[in-house]
């Protein structure tokens, strides 16, 4: 039985490793094609990762990515494609910023309260797609993409000066949040500050694992993802499951903007980062929806993000920092291909091995009859 455990680890690692190697090789081809060194950008980026301040940046960014990717992964585990994480976290961050600027509770209450606002906003926005799917059969992919666009417009409207916005120089903000809602960070001296919310991200990962693998609800969710028909026959209410999964996914997505909002920005403005939700999809894919895998993937992508800007200023030859973007794109493609290939290969391999082991066992006691028909 040990063999199969080892086998599973091998299979789990083979996919990402093949994908990453392929992505690096392909990126090198791009570099060669543009007449540049195919190796130096990597060494430059690794050098960057040695600096403490870059490390802090990477960890902070990874925490944000981790939450966004968890949100996507919840949907993935039951074959729901929540592309709307982007709109959900932005809307949630904005609402939280507005509430945080107007409500002032003691810190011990203020922070949980703000988190609740974020979760509910994200869940509400994702829930729209969930309700549409359950009642009208609208594909959640289409609905969430549309909701992203609507969220952008809605945020634009709500941050107008006439509504909740406060102009600040050239920027349009929602006003500075009350200080009791600032999430204390870990001071790293000159290197900067690690968001305290990163701890929440880690806890969310633990909770994710616990719920999926150790609860009845998690089993139903995974069963639905593995085989909708079998789950239905086993008594899972598919509609309720779709709605619940969308709500959870949206709720987690709502948290994704908070590390930045509560730890650093303290207001929602035009310069609030966008696109985290889409990066989250990449990371969830790369991390195979596994909480540990997602953590590694989040760190990797954060590293690419934060180590690549230095390429622009490299001497004597400058590289385009977009190399990192190219690489991220290639990772996605490579991941999809290599995971499917590894999955099929792994299944075949296990079938063969089980067949072989049983044949060996059958040879020992000759009583076994041949099994006919499929």
């Amino acid at each position: 039985m040990k063999k199969f455990d080892k086998e599973r680890v091998l299979l789990a690692v083979a996919g990402p490793v093949i994908a990453l190697v392929a992505a690096v090789v392909l990126t090198s081809f791009v570099l060669i094609a543009s007449g540049k060194s195919p190796i130096e950008p990597y060494t430059l980026m690794f050098e960057q990762a040695g600096f403490a301040d870059v490390q802090v940046l990477i960890i902070n960014q990874a925490g944000v990515y981790y939450l966004a990717a968890l949100a996507v992964a919840v949907g993935f585990r039951m074959n729901l494609f929540n592309i709307g994480v982007d709109g959900q976290y932005r809307l949630a961050a904005m609402m939280t910023a507005v509430v945080g600027a107007h409500v002032s509770l003691p810190a011990a209450l203020q922070i949980p309260f703000l988190m609740l606002v974020a979760v509910l906003t994200g869940a509400f926005w994702a829930g729209i797609a969930g309700v549409l799917k359950v009642t009208r059969g609208v594909s959640e992919v289409v609905a969430t993409i549309m909701l992203n666009a609507i969220a952008t417009s809605l945020i634009g409207y709500l941050t107008l000066t006439e509504v909740w916005g406060k102009p600040l120089g050239n920027n349009q903000t929602t006003g500075v949040m009350k200080e009791s809602g600032w999430f204390p960070g870990f001071d790293m001296g000159d290197a900067g500050e690690i968001y305290g919310f990163t701890v929440i991200a880690v806890l969310a990962g633990v909770l994710y694992w616990l719920v999926l693998n150790r609860t009845r609800f998690g089993f139903d969710l995974r069963a639905t993802g593995a085989s909708e028909t079998a789950a239905a026959a086993s008594g899972v209410d598919a509609k309720r499951m779709v709605l619940t999964a969308m709500l959870i996914s949206g709720g987690v997505a709502g948290l994704a903007g908070l590390p930045i909002l509560l730890g650093d920005a303290h207001t929602y403005s035009l310069s609030f980062p966008t696109g985290l939700g889409f990066t989250g999809i990449t990371i969830a894919l790369l991390g195979r929806n596994n909480p540990v895998g997602i953590a590694f993937a989040a760190l990797l992508v954060a590293f690419l993000d934060k180590a690549s800007p230095a390429l622009d200023y490299a001497t004597p030859v400058a590289y385009d920092k977009e190399i990192a973007v190219i690489m991220q794109g290639l990772i996605v493609i490579a991941v999809v291909v290599s995971y499917e290939a590894v999955r099929v290969w792994g299944l075949r391999r296990q079938q063969r091995r089980v067949g072989a082991e049983l044949a060996a066992a059958a040879a020992n006691d000759n009583s076994k009859k041949e099994v006919a028909a499929r």
């Binding site: 009845r216 609800f217 593995a226 026959a233 296990q350 067949g355 099994v371 006919a372």
Partner: protein, 545 residues
């Protein structure tokens, strides 16, 4: 001989799908290949079409031995296949669909059109090259598929269950086409399990059962009764139920159960799950008003200790009956009572928790998570029950321990409980499912084809399990294509046809042949055979006993 298969054997891990198969198709004939689902027909055809490689045996085309690495090789040799599910692009014209992938033959313009019209006229296919496939009906699409194959130069056509999607008039038209084809010297291999059709169109019939060819027949010298006998077989160990254990305590009472065909929902897709009043699927509610009744006023009672067998040709409402009983499909009218309590509106989970066991017809779709380990499959369907969970939490240790017990007690051949369900053979998967369902001491068991694709030893073991549980007061609804199994295990027998229970029989007094002819007879409207076989007339409604 245009095709000759000799000694074909194909093994999948732990399973022999084909074993020593012999098939000879003469030039200019229609050769039918008949057998139950899962008998190995499709594997054999995949081998002939180059999609699978045989482990043993030889294939000869026109007397020349060949080995196919891919369907492309088979096509070069003049073998073409018309799949049951059409492979046409809806938004392209017939011409475009036909040339797609074979642009090299006659180009994509006038020459191709000439060729298509020529083939169409020669074989009387009546295909219009410029019609959009989207606008064509099922029968026309099928003719396009046949034309596609002929365009590629096929001399040997494989038709996989071609009549499954056609109405009777279309079937007749198809058979006329087939006669044209054979008059031109082409050979047709016709896969079916509809015996009446096979007898009317085939020149020769090969019967396949449990992965091997059991005989060849000529329609003129055989009857559908004899064919059914060959298909089902009677040399298997007979599942005799020793003494009657039927009590007078009703366990399941079904009254006037009616279900309408509801678009996608009728396929048993996940979308159809839901609370009782929500009749619609995820894809939208289907209007029940003008829909076909897939179950029509079905009434029966099964008592504690009673096994009720349902005989019938597949597709006559068995699937819908099972779905309605387990709660995957909601009754449009009628009631289901379980131990006196009305459960018509109960969701699936509640039914299962209360003691309805379910051995599904299609274990891959409804019974297993193929890529999950065995112990997770042991949880499936019983996640709220011990030993799988403690309250809100899952209990992996308990489930694993109990999986080991099932593997042991039910003789599931596996190296461990951490391997995926997909790596087990069909028979062992089935034993796991039976073990799982029996472990929860059901009061009512729905057993749909419980021993399909299972080897003889496992079959006997499963029968023993059912018999033992029956002695302890289990009520069983048994649906099977294996008539020996039905007769041997059942205390009462019903025949289902077109969604209605049209006949009943006493298993002690009926033979497989008589029952088989009742099913085919019912299918073609000859119910008088049944009367000799001791049953009620068609007209009076099936009373609850």
């Amino acid at each position: 001989m245009s095709v000759e298969l000799a000694g074909i054997t194909k093994r999948f891990p732990g399973v022999v799908a084909n074993h020593d198969i012999h098939l000879s198709v003469r030039k200019g004939t229609v050769h039918a290949l008949v057998g139950e689902n899962g008998a190995g027909k499709s594997t054999l055809m995949k081998i002939l079409y180059g999609m699978q490689k045989p482990d043993e045996g030889t294939i000869a085309v026109d007397g020349e031995q060949v080995a196919f690495a891919s369907p492309a090789d088979a096509i070069t040799r003049g073998i073409g296949m018309v799949h049951q599910h059409f492979m046409l692009a809806d938004y392209l014209t017939v011409l475009e669909n036909v040339v797609l992938g074979s642009e090299k033959l006659h180009g994509i313009g006038a020459a191709a059109r000439r060729r298509i019209v020529e083939i169409s006229e020669r074989y009387g296919l009546g295909v219009r090259p410029d019609a959009l496939v989207e606008d064509l009906g099922v029968a026309d699409r099928q003719r396009v598929e046949i034309l596609k194959v002929l365009y590629r130069g096929a001399r040997i056509l494989i038709l996989d269950e071609p009549t499954a999607v056609l109405v009777p008039q279309e079937v007749d038209a198809l058979f006329d086409n087939l006669r044209e084809l054979k008059a031109e010297g082409l050979s047709v291999i016709f896969i079916s399990h509809k015996l009446g059709e096979v007898l009317s169109v085939a020149d020769e019939i090969t019967v396949i059962r449990r992965g091997t060819t059991v005989g060849t027949a000529v329609p003129a010298e055989t009857t559908s009764r004899q064919l059914a006998e060959m298909m089902v077989g009677s040399e298997l160990p007979t599942p005799e139920t020793a003494e009657s254990t039927v009590t007078d305590k009703p366990v399941i009472q079904v009254e006037g159960l009616t279900v309408y065909a509801g678009g996608g929902a009728s396929l048993g897709e996940s979308g159809s799950v839901g609370e009782a009043p929500a009749a619609g699927s995820l894809a939208g509610a289907a209007s029940a008003g003008d829909a076909k009744r897939v179950l029509d006023d079905v009434t029966f009672t099964i008592h504690a200790g009673e096994v009720m067998g349902i005989a019938g040709v597949e597709g006559n409402g068995q699937t819908e009956l099972v779905d309605a009983l387990i709660g995957l499909k909601n009754a449009d009218s009628g009631t289901v009572r379980f131990l006196g309590e009305e459960i018509t509106s109960w969701p699936t989970r509640r039914r299962r928790e209360q003691g309805v066991g379910y051995i599904p017809e299609d274990r891959h779709r409804h019974g297993l998570l193929l890529e999950a380990p065995l112990w997770e499959n042991r949880i499936l369907g019983h996640v709220t029950e011990k030993p799988n969970s403690k309250g809100f939490w899952l209990d992996p240790k308990g489930a694993q321990a109990d999986t080991r017990r099932i593997v042991e007690e039910y003789d599931v051949r596996t190296p461990g409980i951490d391997v995926t369900a997909a790596s087990l053979s069909g028979g062992n998967q089935q034993k796991l499912i039976v073990g799982r369902e029996m472990s929860h001491k059901p009061r009512f068991l729905i057993a749909a084809h419980p021993t399909r694709g299972v080897d003889v030893g496992a079959q006997a073991a499963i029968w023993d399990q059912i018999r033992e549980a029956r002695r302890e007061g289990l009520a069983v609804l048994l649906i099977s294509a294996d008539l020996d199994e039905l007769i041997g295990l059942s205390d009462t027998l019903r025949v289902i046809y077109d969604g209605r229970l049209v006949a009943d029989a006493d298993p002690a007094a009926i033979t497989p042949e008589e029952l088989g002819s009742a099913m085919t007879g019912a299918a073609s409207g000859h119910l008088e055979h049944v009367e000799r076989a001791e049953r009620a007339e068609e007209a009076p409604e099936d009373e609850a006993r």
